[in-house]
C-alpha cells in the first residue's frame, strides 16, 4: 500500500491562505524522498469554493469536509474532525502550517493520534539514511535536523520556507465531499475575530526602515535609532516584537509575523538577533544592513552587509561620518 502525505489546508475569511501552497511544496519535496500520494484536506462551512480552488490550483485530490457551522478556525473542532479523518486515511505524514492556526491544533492532534510532532520545518534533508526535518533553535542562531522513526509524523511548515507553484495545474484534482458529525464542543466558544485597531505607522510605505532590536539594550538608545533614521529621506523607525513589548516603540512599528511585513529599498537592522518571526517580516527588503555585536547573530545570514560593532558607539560614529563635510 502506498503511503500518504496529508496536507491540511489553511483558510481565513473564505480564502485559502498562500501558506497552503507552501505546505504542498513541502509535501512534494518529501514525496521525492519517500514515495507517497499527496492529498489535501480542507474543513469548513461552506467548503465547496475552498475545495475547488485547491483542486484547480494544485491538481491534487482534495477531501472537503463540510463541518457544520465552522466558518472560521476553531481548535477543538479541527482536532476532533481531523482525528476521525486521519484514523481512517492513516497518512504517514500530516503537514500543517506553522501559523497561529496550525500551532494551535497540531501539537494536540499529534498527542491524540500518537504521532510524533515536529514544528517550524523549513527544509527537508537526508542524513545518516534518515529523513530529517530542519528547524531553527536558539532564537534562529542554529538549525537542528530532527528525525523520528514513528509511524506517523505531524509537521508544521514554516511560512516562507518552501516556494509554492504559482501556476494552475493542468488538470484539476478529484474532490471527495463528506460531512463531519462534530459534537458541538461547549468547552471553547468562539466570540469572533477582532480586527486590529493598530495601523502600520508609515513603516510599510517607507523607502528606508531602521529597526531596533533587543540589542539596543536601553530605552534611551531609541534616540540613536531616530537620529540615524533622520539621515535618510522617506524613512521610518521600526522594531522587533521584544522592543514593542518593552514599550520602547509602538506596536504600530513592529515588523514580523505578528506585526507588519515591510519591503523597503533599505532595511537597517540594529541589534536585531534575527529570529525567524522577525525575519519573515523584512526578508523581502531590497538591501539589508545589519549591526550587531555578536558575529554569529542569525540576522547576518539574511543581510547584504554585516557590521560587528556595538551600535551605541557605531551609530554615533556613522552619523558623524555621514554629516561631516566630504573630504574631496
Amino acid at each position: 500500500m502506498t503511503s500518504t502525505i496529508l496536507v491540511i489546508a489553511e483558510h481565513a475569511d473564505g480564502q485559502i491562505r498562500p501558506v497552503t501552497g507552501e505546505i504542498v511544496a513541502c509535501a512534494r519535496q518529501l514525496q521525492q524522498l519517500q514515495p507517497a500520494d499527496i492529498r489535501i484536506v480542507v474543513l469548513g462551512d461552506p467548503v465547496e469554493t475552498l475545495a475547488e480552488t485547491l483542486s484547480q490550483k494544485t491538481g491534487l485530490p482534495v477531501d472537503a469536509i463540510r463541518t457544520p457551522h465552522l466558518a472560521e478556525y476553531h481548535g477543538d473542532t479541527y482536532r476532533d474532525v481531523l482525528t476521525d479523518f486521519i484514523k481512517e486515511l492513516q497518512p504517514r505524514y500530516i503537514c500543517a502550517a506553522h501559523t497561529s492556526q496550525g500551532l494551535d491544533f497540531a501539537p494536540g492532534l499529534a498527542v491524540r493520534i500518537k504521532a510524533a510532532c515536529i514544528t517550524g520545518v523549513e527544509a527537508i534533508v537526508e542524513a545518516d539514511g534518515e529523513i530529517c526535518f530542519t528547524r531553527r533553535i536558539c532564537g534562529g542562531k542554529l538549525t537542528a535536523d530532527i528525525a523520528s522513526p514513528n509511524a506517523q509524523i505531524v509537521l508544521s511548515v514554516l511560512p516562507g520556507s518552501f516556494s509554492a507553484d504559482s501556476s494552475n495545474a493542468t488538470t484539476a484534482g478529484a474532490i471527495c465531499y463528506r460531512t463531519a458529525i462534530s459534537e458541538t464542543s461547549a468547552r471553547t466558544i468562539p466570540c469572533g475575530v477582532l480586527r486590529s485597531s493598530v495601523k502600520a505607522s508609515g513603516i510599510t510605505e517607507a523607502d528606508v526602515v531602521v529597526a531596533a532590536g533587543r540589542g539596543i539594550g536601553d530605552r534611551e538608545n531609541i534616540a540613536l535609532i531616530h537620529r540615524l533614521t533622520a539621515l535618510f529621506s522617506g524613512s521610518a523607525v521600526a522594531g522587533s516584537r521584544i522592543v514593542c513589548d518593552q514599550g520602547w516603540l509602538d506596536y504600530a512599528q513592529q515588523v514580523g509575523v505578528t506585526g507588519f511585513s515591510v519591503q523597503p529599498a533599505l532595511y537597517i537592522a540594529c541589534g536585531i538577533s534575527g529570529a525567524v518571526q522577525h525575519v519573515s517580516g523584512m526578508r523581502a527588503s531590497g538591501f539589508i544592513v545589519s549591526i550587531n555585536s555578536d558575529p554569529n547573530a542569525a540576522i547576518f545570514n539574511v543581510s547584504d552587509i554585516c557590521i560587528v560593532e556595538d551600535l551605541k558607539t557605531f551609530i554615533p560614529l556613522f552619523i558623524e561620518t555621514a554629516t561631516s563635510p566630504h573630504p574631496d
Partner: protein, 257 residues
C-alpha cells in the same frame, strides 16, 4: 482560582551558541541561564489574575536538571506561592512531548483551574508543550493568548493573537490550559527582599524517573549554523573605517547623498 504556571530555564539570549557534533546538540560560551522570556509573561499574567480576584494561588512547575531550581526561585521571588521541580538527568534537549507528559503526570490530581505556559521556549522554539499537555489532561486549550479575563465562576474570556495583528476571541470553560504570548504587561522584577524569602522556601522535587511515561521518539541528528540567503559581506577594519565604508556603499547605491 488556583493557577499553575509551567516555566523553563534557558540560556540567556546574549550567550553565544555553537553546533556540537559529539553530543549532536549545542555548546555555549557561557553558563548564564535565565527564565524563558515568554514564561515570565505567563507568570506575570497569573499573578495579575490572582491580584484581580484576590483569592487562589499561583504555583510554578519546571522540568530540568538541578540548575533549573533557579528559575523556580525567581518565580517565587516574583510572587508565586509554591514551586514543583521535576528533576531530569539529561542535559540534552528533552522532546516537548516528554516534557508535557512529565508535567501532566505530576499535576493530574492537583485540581488546578488554570494552567499557563509561555507560547514557546526561546531555545527549542517548539511551541508544543502547552497544547500537548492540554490534550494529555483533556483540557480545553488556546495558544498565543494575549488577554485573559475571568468571566463568572467557571469561564475565562481570552484573546489569541493571529497574524497581522488580528485576534481570535474565545470563552473557555475551566479547567483550561492557555499558552501566553508576550504582550503589554511587562513581567515584574523580583525585589531583593522577596528573593531572599524565596531562597529559603522549600521546593517540592520529583525525580523524572518516578513518572513512568513514554512519548513518540523524535531525536536530533545534527545541529549547524544556518545557511546564508544573501551576500553577508562583513565590513573589516576599525569602527571608523567601517563607518566610512558603509557611507560609500550607501552613496554608491544612491541610498544616501
Amino acid at each position: 482560582m488556583n493557577i499553575l504556571v509551567c516555566i523553563k530555564q534557558v540560556l540567556a539570549a546574549a550567550v553565544r551558541v555553537f553546533p556540537d557534533a559529539d553530543t549532536r546538540w549545542i555548546r555555549s560560551d557561557s553558563d548564564e541561564y535565565v527564565m524563558n522570556r515568554f514564561d515570565e509573561f505567563a507568570v506575570e499574567a497569573a499573578l495579575q489574575l490572582r491580584e484581580a480576584l484576590s483569592d487562589g494561588r499561583v504555583d510554578v512547575i519546571s522540568v530540568g536538571p538541578e540548575r533549573a531550581e533557579a528559575v523556580i526561585r525567581r518565580a517565587l521571588g516574583m510572587g508565586a506561592d509554591d514551586g514543583i521541580h521535576i528533576i531530569t538527568k539529561t542535559c540534552g534537549p528533552i522532546p516537548p512531548a516528554v516534557t508535557a507528559a512529565l508535567m501532566a503526570a505530576s499535576v493530574r490530581n492537583r485540581n488546578y483551574d488554570l494552567i499557563l505556559t509561555g507560547v514557546m521556549s526561546e531555545d527549542d522554539m517548539n511551541a508544543q508543550v502547552g497544547p500537548a499537555m492540554a490534550e494529555m489532561l483533556d483540557l480545553p486549550c488556546a495558544t498565543a493568548v494575549i488577554q485573559i479575563e475571568r468571566r463568572g465562576i467557571s469561564t475565562v474570556y481570552v484573546e489569541r493573537e493571529m497574524e497581522g495583528g488580528m485576534r481570535d476571541a474565545l470563552e473557555i470553560r475551566l479547567p483550561a490550559l492557555l499558552s501566553v504570548q508576550s504582550g503589554a504587561h511587562p513581567p515584574r522584577y523580583p525585589s531583593l527582599s522577596r528573593m531572599l524569602r524565596a531562597n529559603r522556601r522549600p521546593i517540592e522535587t520529583i525525580p523524572s524517573t518516578d513518572l513512568g511515561m513514554t512519548a513518540p521518539d523524535i531525536h536530533v541528528v545534527r545541529t549547524a549554523f544556518p545557511g546564508k540567503t544573501r551576500a553577508g559581506y562583513f565590513l573589516e577594519g576599525s569602527a571608523s573605517e567601517k563607518a566610512a565604508q558603509l557611507l560609500k556603499i550607501f552613496q554608491a547605491r544612491s541610498l544616501m547623498r
